[in-house]
């Protein structure tokens, strides 16, 4: 690709793996996979441990991910576990980001993060609205951008662009 250049600062503001190592040590068997791309670290965790992991990452003194930047999902219809639910965390104290992922089956359902971060309220509603992901225990899980009587989950791959 032409002259060898690199996007400046790639990875400088992402967790360097210390939080994941700490997670493996303190909550064994919760980490299923760890990926690094362009300096960005993603940790794939066990579905059963979502709340434990998120609250550990938030409260642990070495992790301090006190800020929930975003919640979203990705649909991979050809995979055995077609849904990925993605939490993007940020630590003010350490100025580092970390992406947390869970892989889900055909009826995706994960626990809500509202008790940890009120910010999760609308983010989870949007994720539900677009992908049909059930956030168990969400105080008010209903469509947010689309009308109440809308049918289907538009960001799933089988949903057509036009119809």
């Amino acid at each position: 690709m032409g002259a060898a250049t690199a996007f400046p600062g790639s990875g400088r503001y992402w967790d360097d793996g210390t939080s994941v190592a700490r997670l493996r040590e303190q909550l064994p068997d919760t980490v299923l996979d760890e990926v690094e791309f362009r300096g960005e670290r993603t940790v794939v965790i066990d579905r059963e441990a979502v709340l434990d992991v998120l609250s550990f990452l938030r409260d642990d003194e070495a992790c301090t991910f006190d800020f929930l930047t975003d919640i979203t999902a990705v649909h991979w219809p050809d995979r055995a576990e077609p849904f990925e639910v993605v939490w993007l965390l940020y630590s003010f104290r350490r100025n580092r980001r970390l992406r947390v992922k869970v892989r889900e089956g055909v009826e995706p359902s994960v626990p809500t993060a509202v008790p940890l971060w009120p910010a999760a309220g609308w983010l989870e509603r949007e994720c539900y609205d677009m992908f049909g992901i059930d956030f168990e225990g969400h105080p008010d899980l209903r469509r947010i951008l689309l009308p109440d009587d809308f049918e289907g989950w538009p960001l799933r791959k089988e949903f057509p662009l036009k119809r």
């Binding site: 690709m1 250049t5 600062g9 362009r38 800020f67 100025n95 980001r97 677009m130 951008l145």
Partner: protein
């Protein structure tokens, strides 16, 4: 009204009425609809109903090439389109692992900071108008027009600027443009001062905004507020400082912050941000690097017309980029900028194809707006208007 939208009073036992504010109400800044439950004039519950401007941008992104989708971003926060363009393109460049020349970075900073000044002027004019201070509106809209003129001269468009390209920019500055901006900047500070003179110590303005819609620093973080609403609560955090992109670490500027986190603090923060942006613009123009605006990446950046007509290789590159789009590696990235409204992030997932497999837009305005359901409680209904203005939601970005 559907039952699910009916706000609840949490069992206070008082008789309340439920009213709609919006979606077509001049003070709700577009198509925001709030369902308010009132005990007299006091708001006891507030729920927002969104989506009146939903256009499915994230779905569209999956069906357009990487470059094509940039034009859609203009229509998100349509008060700062150039800033959205830059935010999106930076995420694509991160995915590609691409750096751009110093001149390009400086020009993008100019795009972003002009957008911030323009967006804040619109916020100020409408916010003041909502609270009955009509005069300010005329000053701010005139200033905004002048910025649009500058955009038009450079990019050919006033609103849909779409001038950022993967690996560079569509065009360099036209002759005399920097002089135009310099003379614009010379007069703008006086206008900001004049607006402040009309409001900052104005008794009515202070009464309407002080201690209204307060949110503590702790709550601001819990609600994931970013941008001016976060800083007004006392958290000095700005992505341009915390995670500098576009060489922002080479500019001198300060992050204004508040202490109380009320409507008044959010007002003061944005006013100071405009001055800081003017300062950044002056530095960018002063030290504008010479050199190319596009990075040397022939498989990504379109060649000049002259080269297409004279060189076989460039003709092929041009053909491939236009017909097939560029190939991005498999992987996923997140990149965020400090947009006028706060953290505007793009989470791009690529399966190696010419378009995003998934493009998640982390909208600052959407996340910030959520806090209104908390801020409005216990306030007068008239103050809800002040709170909406102080959160500066732009529904194009909230609904996407």
């Amino acid at each position: 009204m559907s039952e699910s939208l009916r706000a609840t009073s949490h069992g206070t036992g008082k008789e309340t009425i439920t009213i709609n504010m919006g979606p077509s109400h001049p003070s709700t800044h577009g198509v925001l609809r709030l369902v308010l439950e009132l005990d007299g004039e006091i708001v006891t519950a507030c729920k927002a109903d969104l989506g009146y401007l939903h256009r499915g941008f994230e779905k569209i992104a999956e069906n357009k090439t990487w470059q094509q989708f940039m034009t859609w971003t203009d229509r998100m926060d349509y008060l700062a389109p150039a800033s959205n363009n830059v935010g999106y393109i930076l995420a694509v460049e991160k995915l590609l692992g691409l750096d751009v020349p110093a001149r390009c970075k400086a020009l993008r900073v100019i795009l972003c900071e002009l957008a911030r000044v323009s967006a804040h002027f619109l916020w100020l004019g409408t916010h003041a108008l909502d609270l009955g201070a009509a005069t300010v509106f005329f000053y701010t809209f005139q200033q905004r027009e002048l910025i649009y003129d500058l955009y038009e001269k450079w990019t050919g468009a006033r609103l849909t600027t779409s001038t950022v390209r993967i690996g560079g920019l569509a065009r360099d500055l036209p002759p005399g443009w920097t002089e135009d901006v310099k003379s614009y900047l010379k007069q703008v500070t006086a206008v900001i001062d004049e607006c402040e003179g009309l409001l900052t110590r104005n008794r009515i303005w202070v009464d309407r905004t002080k201690d209204v819609g307060v949110i503590s620093a702790e709550d601001a973080v819990a609600f994931a507020l970013t941008g001016p609403p976060l800083r007004a609560s006392g958290v000095e955090w700005d992505l341009r400082k915390a995670q500098p992109y576009l060489d922002y670490d080479r500019y001198e500027f300060e992050i204004p912050s508040g202490t109380v986190g009320d409507v008044y603090d959010r007002y003061l923060v944005r006013m100071e941000e405009m001055r800081q942006s003017v300062w950044i613009l002056e530095q960018a123009l002063q030290n504008l690097p010479e050199g190319p605006i596009n990075t040397d990446a022939p498989k990504v950046v379109l060649p000049s017309k002259e080269k297409v007509l004279t060189s076989m290789e460039d003709l092929i590159h041009h053909f491939i980029i236009i017909t097939e789009g560029i190939a991005a590696p498999e992987g996923e990235v997140y990149h965020a900028i400090e947009a006028p409204k706060g953290e505007l992030g793009f989470y791009l997932v690529s399966d190696g194809g010419p378009a995003a497999y998934r493009c998640r837009i982390r909208p600052a305005a959407f996340v910030n707006l959520q806090a209104i359901e908390k801020m409005a409680i216990g306030q007068l209904i008239a103050d809800v208007v002040a709170i909406i203005g102080s959160l500066d939601p732009v529904m194009g970005e909230v609904d996407r």
